[in-house]
Symmetry: C2
C-alpha cells in the first residue's frame, strides 16, 4: 500500500500557451489587445503597501459596489470571485446538488464537465446543431440545472435574449447559469432578467472586455437570495480569495465607461474587418459576437494552418477534439496584428 | 419542486472581524504589525499596468523561483496557491482519496473539517491532551492521511521536529500535511525532511511572518512527485488563480531576508514580554511559538474579558466551541498595542 494509491487521478488541463518569446503575435487566449482603463495606473500608485499586512475585506465591498454602480443593480445582487472560473465553479458546487443531469452543449467552455466531475454532478453534453448553434428546445427537458455560454465559446455564436429567457422560464425549478464572458463584444446580456427570474445566474469577467485577465476577477448577478447562497458556500470554506490589488484595481477598471465603450468598439470594428478578410480568403465561420473568430478552411487542415502560423510568429488556438479539430480559434488583436495574420494566411493559401 | 431544494446547505464561516472603525487595536486575526519588506513598494512602482490585459503566468515562475531561492530548494519542490487555505484545500482534494479516516486534532485550524466535508473525506478529530499538546502516539494508527498544524492553532503550542518526523515515518503509506503557518515565530520547520520522506507536505504562508495577508499567497514544499500531483489537480480545473500582483509582489516580499529576520524577531520579543505580563496578571496559557497567545484567566469568563476589551477599543478572538470557550486568542501587535492591552486588562481585573 502506497500513498500514491490515494492520489486523485486527473487529466491536467493545458492552458493556452503564454510564450516568453518576444515579438510573437499572440492570438491564442482571447486577451484584449488594449490595456486596462487609465484609472488603474492611478489606483496602483495610490495603493498603500503597508495595508497588505492585513487581510483583505472578505466582502470585497469596494469592488462589488463599483460593479453594482456600473450596472445600476443592488450590490446584494453581485457576487465576485477569482476569475469567472472561480465564480462558475462555486455556482456548480452551490446549485447543482440534484440527482438529475445538468445540461450544457457538447461544444462549449472546456471546464464545465471538469467542474461537474470534480463535484460529482451528473451531466449531459447536448450536441450543438450542425451549424454550431444551440437549439433552445434541447433544454426544455427535465434536468438538474442548465449552463449556457452566451455567446458560446469557442464557437463565438450568440443566442438572442428571447431564447435565453425561454430557457430560463422553462427551467424555473433549477438554476440556469448564463456565462457571459464575451457578451460585451456584441451579445445581449441576460442581466435585465434577474429581477424577473429568481433561478437565473449571469456570470461575467474582467478578463476580456475589461482588459484585466492578469488580475483574475469574475462576477455574477442574480436575485439576492441566490447571491446569498453563493456567498454562504464560498465563506464556508475560504473567506479570503480576492486580494487587495484585485479589489482596488478592479474597482478602478470598471469605473471608466467611456474607455470601456471605446476599446470594445475598437475590438468589434477590428473583428468585423477580420471577418471580411477571412471570408475573402475562403475561411468559414459562424457570426462571432466575441473577441475571437472560430474558423476553418475547406481546402486546408486546421493543424497545418496552425503550424504555419506558429512558424511565422503567430499563435492561435486549436482544440484536438471531436467535431472541431479542423477549426482555429483566432483572438482579435490590434488592426496591425490582424493585418499580419491575414498576410501570413494569404501566403500560406498560395503555397 | 424548487431550485432551492438543490442548494448546498452550509454553516457559513464568520472570519475574524475587519472593523472599519479607526483607532481600534486589532489583535484578532494574527496579522503582522509590521508592513511588508521595503522591496514590495519598489516592485509595485515597477509593475506595468498594460501587462494586466494578459493572463498571468500559470506556473507563477517568478514567485516559485523566489521561494525556492530563499529556502535553497529545487523550484520543482514548491507549490503556490491563493493563501495557505487554497494550498491546503488542494492538498486535501489531491491526496485524501482513501476510505479510511484522515486524522487531525480536535482543537486545530477550523477549516480542516470543512474541507474534509467539502470533498467527502472521512475524518477523525483526535482529542488534544488536557494541556492542549498533541500526543504523537495518537497518530500511529491506521488512517487515510494526517494533518498537523505545527505550531498548532489556536493553541500556539509546537511539537518538536523529532515528534513530527516520527509521525511522518510511521505513516509512510499516506500523506502527512504539516501546516506551518506560524512556524517562523519559533517553531522548527519540517522542510529539511522533504528529501527524506516522499509522503510529507509542508505548507507555509505569506500572511503572517511575511506581512502579506492582503495578497493571498500560500505555498508548500514536498518531493517533486508529490508537488507534480498537486499541480496536476490544480491545473485540471483552474489554471489561473494567482494574479500578477501576487506573483510580482510576493517575489519581492520574500527576497529580503534581513527584513524578515528583523521583523519576526521583533514579534517574538514582544510576545515574550507579553507572556510575562499576562502571567503576572494571572493568565494561563501554553508556551506559544506563534504570533498569538491563547490564554484564559482562572477568575474571569472569556466572554466577559472579550466584551470589556471590545468596549475599550481592543479586538481579540474568541471561539465559542467545546473545551476552548474560556480562552482568548490574542494576536501579537506592536509593543505599544500590547502595553495598551495589558493596561486595559489590569483595569478589568481590578474592577
Amino acid at each position: 500500500m502506497s500513498w500514491e494509491d490515494n492520489v486523485r487521478k486527473v487529466v491536467p488541463y493545458t492552458p493556452g500557451e503564454q510564450p516568453k518569446i518576444k515579438n510573437i503575435i499572440k492570438l491564442n487566449t482571447n486577451e484584449n489587445p488594449y490595456p486596462p482603463a487609465p484609472g488603474v495606473v492611478e489606483a496602483l500608485k495610490n495603493m498603500d503597501v503597508s495595508d497588505y499586512r492585513k487581510y483583505p475585506d472578505p466582502s470585497c465591498t469596494k469592488l462589488v459596489d463599483a460593479i453594482a454602480s456600473f450596472y445600476s443593480v443592488d450590490p446584494e445582487k453581485v457576487f465576485v470571485g477569482v476569475g469567472s472560473d472561480d465564480v462558475l465553479a462555486m455556482a456548480f458546487l452551490t446549485f447543482f446538488n440534484s440527482d438529475k443531469n445538468i445540461l450544457f452543449p457538447d461544444i462549449t467552455y472546456s471546464f464545465y464537465d471538469v467542474w461537474a466531475d470534480l463535484y460529482r454532478i451528473p451531466y449531459t453534453q447536448v450536441p450543438l446543431k450542425e451549424d454550431f448553434t444551440i437549439d433552445p428546445e434541447d433544454y426544455y427537458v427535465e434536468n438538474g440545472g442548465v449552463v449556457i455560454a452566451n455567446p458560446n465559446a469557442p464557437t463565438g455564436v450568440a443566442l438572442p435574449l428571447s431564447a435565453i429567457e425561454e430557457i430560463v422560464r422553462k427551467n424555473s425549478d433549477v438554476i440556469v447559469i448564463v456565462d457571459e464572458a464575451y457578451v460585451d463584444f456584441g451579445g445581449e446580456s441576460a442581466l435585465p432578467l434577474i429581477d424577473k427570474y429568481d433561478n437565473l445566474l449571469v456570470v461575467q469577467t474582467f478578463s476580456k472586455s475589461r482588459s484585466m485577465a492578469g488580475m483574475r476577477i469574475g462576477y455574477a448577478f442574480g436575485c439576492k437570495k441566490l447571491i446569498k447562497y453563493l456567498y454562504d458556500v464560498k465563506f464556508s470554506f475560504n473567506s479570503y480569495t480576492m486580494n487587495m490589488p484585485s479589489i482596488e484595481l478592479g474597482a478602478a477598471a470598471i469605473a471608466d465607461k467611456d474607455y470601456f465603450d471605446k476599446t470594445r468598439s475598437m475590438v468589434i470594428a477590428t473583428r468585423e474587418r477580420a471577418k471580411k478578410e477571412l471570408k475573402d480568403l475562403g475561411f468559414e465561420f459562424g457570426d462571432s459576437m466575441t473577441n475571437f473568430i472560430f474558423a476553418k478552411h475547406p481546402d486546408k487542415h486546421g493543424k497545418d494552418i496552425f503550424d504555419y502560423l506558429r512558424q511565422n510568429g503567430i499563435i492561435v488556438r486549436r482544440f484536438d477534439l471531436p467535431r472541431i479539430s479542423e477549426y482555429l480559434r483566432i483572438s482579435i488583436g490590434t488592426d496591425e496584428e490582424m493585418d499580419e495574420l491575414i498576410r501570413v494566411l494569404r501566403k500560406f493559401l498560395k503555397e
